[in-house]
């Protein structure tokens, strides 16, 4: 009987408790570190996206300035306005000159943002010579386009919904 009355000291109990607490601490510390690291990586991507957008935007503004100088030069040529403008615009790299369905002159260009996106700009030009600000051209498009090539799989374009209805 006397052997059953211990003094309350259990050898090994404290070790088990410490191991349990440390396991919990390590798990939570690792989880918080992983979460913070993922947040930081996302922030780096945000920084890269914002910086590359404004770099592309600045490049597009510079091209716009070049186009406008060509338009101003073309306005001096009078009746030969559109051919002069077309010839001038062909000198600017990456700028595409065409006429839309109604015969109005349209200029478009792409500025790459990253490997899979580009800033697409489209301008509607005045068909007759004009020197006033806001009259030589109007910006009809200034948007980011996805230019990544579509990956073709065995069943068509990968990542696209095939139209199959998924019922729960």
């Amino acid at each position: 009987m006397s052997g059953k009355h211990h003094t309350g000291i259990n050898v090994g109990g404290s070790s088990i408790l410490v191991i349990f607490v440390l396991l919990c601490l390590t798990t939570f510390a690792t989880l918080s570190m992983v979460s913070a690291n993922a947040d930081y990586k996302l922030t780096q991507k945000t920084v890269l996206a914002a910086t590359s957008y404004y770099n592309a935007d600045a490049a597009a503004e510079a091209i716009l300035a070049q186009i406008d100088s060509v338009l101003l030069e073309g306005a001096k040529s009078g009746e030969n306005y559109l051919p002069t403008v077309e010839a001038g615009l062909r000198q600017i790299e990456g700028v595409d000159y065409r006429q839309d369905g109604t015969g109005s002159p349209v200029v478009s260009y792409l500025v790459p943002l990253n490997d899979f996106q580009s800033l697409s700009v489209e301008l509607a030009l005045s068909p007759s010579p004009a020197t006033g600000n806001g009259k030589r051209f109007s910006i009809t498009q200034w948007k980011v386009l996805n230019t990544a090539p579509l990956v073709m799989g065995d069943e068509g374009i990968e990542g696209l919904w095939t139209g199959e209805i998924i019922s729960g």
Binding site: T7, I9, N10, V11, G12, S14, S15, L17, V18, V21, L22, L25, T26, F28, A29, T30, S32, M33, S35, A36, N37, D39, Y40, L42, T43, T46, V47, A50, T51, Y54, N55, D57, A58, E61, A62, L64, A65, D68, S69, N133, G134, R136
Partner: protein, 144 residues
């Protein structure tokens, strides 16, 4: 005999307790360090995110403003302070707007310039607790 057994058991328990406490102290110190690092990294990410948002907001103010707008008028539009050729915006510890630099932690400086018919805005956000700028952005606008 029984007393000797009890005292040896107490001694064993004491040794175990000492080892446990020592092990716990070392391991928990490492874990607390990890928690602190995670907290620092998380606040750094938050600050950079806010810096990017503020810089983008300022850049859009600049791009949307009329060419005829003066620096002082743009500063007034942004509810900011103008100084020389720069616009200054002050933020507190939690990115709240402050009217004066006295207790500001973050400062956004927007410097305006003209280069070849392009208006250039250099936007920089500094942290008073860190040496390098938190974020820098350059926005350009063609002035016809």
């Amino acid at each position: 005999m029984r007393g000797k057994y009890t005292s040896s058991k107490s001694g064993l328990f004491l040794i175990e307790l000492i080892i446990s406490i020592a092990f716990f102290a070392v391991s928990s110190a490492i874990c607390v360090q990890l928690f602190a690092q995670a907290h620092t990294l998380s606040s750094k990410s938050g600050d950079i995110n806010m810096a990017v948002t503020s810089a983008q907001s300022a850049a859009e103010y600049f791009k949307a403003s009329a060419a005829s707008l003066s620096l002082e008028e743009l500063a007034a539009l942004m509810d900011a302070t103008s100084s020389g050729d720069s616009i200054l915006v002050y933020y507190g510890e939690n990115w709240e707007r402050l009217p004066a630099p006295d207790s500001a932690r973050f400062t956004m400086t927007m410097t305006l310039d003209m280069k070849d018919a392009l208006a250039v805005a250099d936007i920089r956000i500094d942290d008073s607790q860190g040496g390098v700028p938190l974020y820098q952005l350059t926005a350009k606008k063609y002035i016809a």
